[in-house]
């Protein structure tokens, strides 16, 4: 979680007058203001809360007796079930964003059945909890008034439909536009970037292309209020159904990405891979971490080793195809302890938004108990020209302990990297590697991975009492 201004109030929690999130003694709470009283009571009395919690679509909470940070405005203090790792839409693969979109629409349909409606459809209100998308903002609901259009329609299109359409029809990497546009991708931009054929797709033609034009063409007009300019419940259900159908039709398959065949093409024999897995398991058993960050995880082979030992693992990779494959496998296996995320370690998620504190940086969300950096160091040192000392310093910020694989210069992967470039890496030696990492870690054990010349190390930060 990012920085806390006065009273432990979360830096991202300032827009909604209904309440805010705050932290006290490292526990997260939500103050519900008097202004939201009627809506919270309806959420609980209408049966909507119970239904959504039962289906795993809304974060459960307890009402607690904790002194509120702003007593003059307070109605209730809620203690939501904690989410283990906060992630953001620009770190999700296509499938994660699509599932979050469909969950938002399912919640809106359920809300309408209970006389309520979502007033926000922000992708940031959704988190992945126990492997599934879940709404974390309990204050997103309001009483539904007959004739009222969906106030979150534009936000849904910008946060979900536009990025999904761009990822499916133009290029999957355009999901990264969400990092630039925190309130979702502007529809006129999405409309320009989408190929012309999407104008023949009824859902995208209506909700992206025509919608974008409608935004531009309403200059000087004001929306009238009241039932005369409103829409009936059936029309609203029709809108939700149309959005659902548009989202469901969007697909993207991870076929030809640079890393999709990594394990088939890389220098490991099945025997060496098995030995490496055995060593990683052995090291993890000795450390016994609760949280593991697997950096450059590919499809999460070693993250699974960590979850198999009871840890919660986040599998980071910069390849959208690898993350998608990992996510689909986790979703199919209902794996609640592994979260695959898209992250480029050479340019990880920064602090973003108002005062750079609305969305926490990658570093702010750590440290993990253990970091796995397997078959990674050569990519950082050679492909990215990062000195070993800088790599060691960075990894020391991420975790209390580290399991890292040294990939020697003689390794076929390193040789392949050096074929097309000048070898300026005199410092890339095992001795220099150990020297650099010893400045931040205590090396506790190391073993060679059979038939590879690669060395696997376990290290601990000196202040870490393992």
């Amino acid at each position: 979680m990012s920085g806390s201004p006065a009273g432990g109030i979360h830096a991202a929690s300032f827009r909604d007058p209904s309440g805010f999130v705050f932290t006290r003694d490292e526990v997260l709470y939500r103050q519900v203001n008097q202004a939201y009283r009627q809506h919270l009571d309806l959420l609980l009395s209408s049966g909507l809360y119970e239904r959504l919690v039962e289906t795993g679509q809304l974060i459960p909470h307890e009402v607690v007796d904790v002194p509120p940070p702003q007593p003059e405005r307070a109605y209730r203090i809620l203690k939501p079930e904690p989410v283990r790792f906060v992630s953001y839409p620009y770190e999700w693969c296509f499938g994660q964003l699509k599932d979050a979109a469909l969950t938002t629409l399912a919640i809106q349909s359920a809300a309408l059945e209970h006389g309520m409606s979502l007033k926000d459809a922000s992708a940031y209100n959704v988190q992945f909890h126990r492997g599934r998308p879940i709404l974390i903002d309990t204050l997103s609901f309001e009483a539904y008034r007959e004739g009222q259009p969906w106030v979150a329609y534009r936000q849904f299109c910008q946060h979900f439909l536009a990025p999904l359409a761009l990822m499916a029809h133009t290029d999957v990497r355009l999901g990264q536009l969400l990092r630039v546009y925190l309130d979702g991708i502007p529809l006129d931009l999405a409309s320009r970037l989408l190929p012309g054929r999407t104008r023949l797709n009824p859902g995208l033609a209506m909700h992206v292309h025509l919608h974008a034009r409608a935004q531009q063409s309403s200059t000087g007009r004001r929306a009238r209020s009241g039932p005369s300019s409103g829409m009936g419940r059936t029309a609203l259900l029709g809108l939700i159904d149309s959005l659902r159908s548009a989202v469901e039709k969007l697909t993207w398959d991870p076929q030809a990405t640079p890393w999709s065949d990594y394990y088939q093409e890389c220098s490991y024999s099945s025997q060496a891979l098995e030995h490496k897995q055995q060593l990683v398991r052995q090291y993890l058993e000795a450390i016994h971490p609760r949280t593991v960050w697997d950096l450059g995880a590919n499809t999460g082979t070693f993250s699974h080793t960590a979850t198999g030992l009871g840890a919660f693992a986040v599998a980071f990779d910069s390849d959208p195809g690898a993350v998608e494959t990992c996510y689909r496998a986790c979703r199919d296996a209902r794996d609640a302890n592994l979260m695959p995320l898209l992250l480029d370690l050479t340019n990880p998620s920064p602090g973003l938004g108002w005062e750079l504190a609305e969305r926490a940086s990658f570093l702010d969300r750590g440290p993990a108990d253990t970091v796995l950096a397997l078959a990674l160091v050569h990519h950082l040192a050679i492909a990215n020209n990062s000195p070993l000392a800088r790599i060691a310093a960075f990894l020391a910020k991420l975790g209390d302990s580290l399991i890292i694989e040294w990939v020697p210069r003689s390794d076929p992967q390193v040789q392949r990297m050096l074929t097309t470039r000048e070898d300026i890496f005199d410092e890339y030696t095992r001795e220099a590697f150990e020297r650099a990492f010893s400045r931040h870690f205590r090396i506790t054990c190391h073993s060679e991975v059979e038939d590879t010349g690669r060395i696997l190390y376990a290290m601990h930060r000196p202040d870490d009492s393992v």
């Binding site: 259009p149 534009r154 009936g232 029709g238």
Partner: protein, 71 residues
């Protein structure tokens, strides 16, 4: 002109107008446009939803009859 025909005509004219927008002011809040657009497409989407729901029920009914016939 019947009410339905008038609604259809208005909807069609609205969509045609959207296809040829005037130059927009960059400072305009896109929320207003979204609101008006939503109301504009509402009639069509509501009608489509009703047709879809009834069609689903007809299919379900026929499926049930067909299934019973097999027994």
């Amino acid at each position: 002109m019947s009410r339905h025909r008038r609604t259809f005509l208005l909807l069609a004219l609205g969509l045609v107008r959207l296809a040829f927008p005037p130059r927009a002011a960059a400072y305009l809040d896109p929320g207003t446009g979204s609101y008006l657009f939503q109301v504009l497409i509402a009639v069509g989407l509501g009608a489509l939803y009703i047709v879809k729901t009834y069609w689903g029920r007809i299919k379900e009914f026929l499926g049930r009859r067909h299934h019973r016939g097999d027994e």
